[in-house]
Amino acid sequence: MHPRRIAIVGGGPGGLFTAWLLERMASRRIELTIYEARDRVGGKVLTPSFDSAPVRYEAGAAEFYDYSAVDEDPLRHAVAMLGLPTQPLGGSAVLLDDTVVGTADDVHDRLGPAAHAALLAFDERAKAAQSPRRFYASGFDAVADGSSRRFDAVMDAVHPPAARRYLETMLKSDLATEPCRTSTEYGLQNYLMNDPAYMGLYCISGGNEQLVQALAARVAASVRLQEPVMAIGRTASGSLWVESRRGGQTLVEAFDTVIVALPMAHLPLVRFVGGRLEAALAAHCAHHAHPAHYLRVTILFDRPFWRRRVRDAFFMLDRFGGCCLYDESARDPDATHGVLGWLIAGTAALESCARSDDELVALALDSLPASLGDGRAAFREGRVHRWPGAVSALPGGERLAPVDQRHRPEPIDHPDLFLVGDYLFDSTLNGVLDSASHVAGWVAARLAEGPGGAA
């Protein structure tokens, strides 16, 4: 019996996870083809090096979320299965006007007792709103809390202003949007993810890109780099066709199953042919297209001059509307240089995307508080990575579709076309693994039940 032909559109973490899981789950022979528009697989998981020194830094996904303190964590499990060493990341410092606010004690001492009381009250409220277990399950819930309240209403209630500013700066890079554009639940979740009882953070020692490289090395699929998919439709014989472009040529191939694992921003670039399918995808995109933007500026310094005051793996800065500053060099115990990475999020990121690299590097250097040290004196090299619209998340209050519906937009005429993406869960790498796992399990079950299947 001929193997079932399966196409995966997109060679990012979603596509690679789907391929890896499918190969492990399939009870019959399958032939996988992965289409990737770029010259590398891995998508937003990217660990390049500087030109002037062999020093790595994270240009995309900076960290992974660790839910294992609460319950099973499939991503942690997958990382362990792939044999990748990890290290925890931690940091609680917020730099406000050149003042390091590292702990609740600092909030009390430097922002005042009222701010401290407001912080504790906010913390109480967040913890009362969501238990760690509910926090863990929130990505799977078919329905959000239903509240139409936006997070800015919660933030407006925080007094004095110093406390509000502290919290906004702390949350901004996680939200990747403005409080007025997200829900109370999502905003509080972004606060709670700083609490180790809810979640931890970790990275892969030696670079996060090792994860996608390890996946790519273990997948037997045929990977077609620099071959973007232009259109998908159904043939007269009942299979699905995929039209791609390679070196100016248009190629069309037929598949039994097609899995589209593209970021939300790239989904409209593919033409879905067929009345029902086109309408379903349009509705899907309209529902899920809520782009959030990131911009990463990473600078190589001669030495980690800031460590005298801040030693955290990351800390928050009240510049660029609130950004997260990663001490990339803290991830490598043998690092001889200092590397700081600015993660600018939301509107500030979108606006900054238009600026030149040099301008952005200069702005980043200017944003460093004077008390940390003279960044310009230690400057070696700056790199910029723009991720506009790279993430998409439903604004607060919007209903989440049932999990199956999210992953199979048109079940009547195209039951063999699936979608995978982080935006279908919580817009994280954990979410994309959940999504890939759901689709891989589903496709594997259909393979077993279908003609020639074991069942």
């Binding site: 004690d105 600092d106 913390d123």
Partner: protein, 265 residues
């Protein structure tokens, strides 16, 4: 708790820094705080200013030298955090912190030191017991007359392995204490000391050793108990056999004596 004046040098001399002749730390109070079954020498130094921008590097180096001078197997662990520095080794520790944070940081350090000392003691105990495991393991499979002399030592080690397990259970909540949120300086320092000294991992390793010890000595205890019961039963059986044999001999002699006196026809 004992307080005494002591120089800041392992050799009993005041610590001097960078050859300038300036006494950096001078005469400071050294507390001797009992932690588990050990004693921790503790020095608490208020920082010059609350922002951590004091000229504290010299003071920090002197404190590090004093802590390192105690010559333990464990090199000193130095945790600087937001203007506070804690330097710790199993027998000496120093705190350099803003005045307001001193009490809380001191408590956090002592709390950690108690956990570490207790865990260190249990690691030693587990090591000692594991050293005897090869010798005792055969008794977990078979215990008979040949091993009877080892019964007391097996019972002793069974008791110690149970005690080890109980102590570990007692210690685990302190070692695996969930992190405090929102984080306080003292809690963060405590957590970082726990992380740096791998308390949770070490606890897990000792627990794994305790699992092995449990398994072996539990079986040994069962075998010893079974043997004791079997021996009691065996003794009773033999006593009955002996009594029956004696009765048989008496009967036999009676019968034979009767035969001897029967007149032959």
């Amino acid at each position: 708790m004992i307080r005494r004046d002591a120089p800041m040098d392992g050799n009993g001399q005041p610590v001097r820094h960078d050859g300038s002749g300036q006494e950096v730390l001078g005469q400071v109070r050294v507390e001797e705080v009992p932690v588990d079954d050990a004693v921790l020498e503790l020095v608490v130094l208020p920082a010059a200013d609350a922002d951590g921008t004091r000229d504290g590097e010299g003071q920090e180096a002197a404190a590090l030298a004093w802590v390192a001078a105690c010559r333990t197997d464990t090199p000193p662990v130095q945790v600087p955090l937001y203007g506070t520095t804690v330097i710790w080794s199993p027998s000496r520790a120093a705190i350099l912190a803003p005045h307001a944070a001193l009490v809380a940081v001191r408590e956090a350090l002592l709390d950690f030191a108690r956990c570490d000392a207790a865990l260190r003691r249990l690691e030693g105990e587990a090591g000692l017991l594991l050293g005897r495991l090869d010798e005792d393991a055969p008794c977990a499979v078979e215990f008979d007359e040949r091993h009877i002399e080892r019964q007391a030592s097996l019972e002793e080690r069974f008791r110690r392995s149970v005690r080890l397990r109980a102590d570990l259970a007692d210690l685990a909540p302190a070692v695996l204490r969930p992190p405090v949120h929102p984080p306080t300086l003292a809690a963060q320092l405590g957590e970082r000391l726990r992380e740096r000294t791998r308390l949770a991992d070490r606890l897990e390793f000792v627990q794994a050793k305790a699992d092995v010890l449990d398994r072996v000595y539990d079986l040994c205890a069962q075998r010893v108990g079974d043997f004791a019961i079997a021996r009691r039963h065996l003794r009773l059986e033999w006593v009955i056999i002996v009594l029956l044999a004696a009765e048989l001999v008496v009967l036999l002699v009676e019968v034979l004596a009767g035969l001897g006196t029967t007149p032959t026809p």
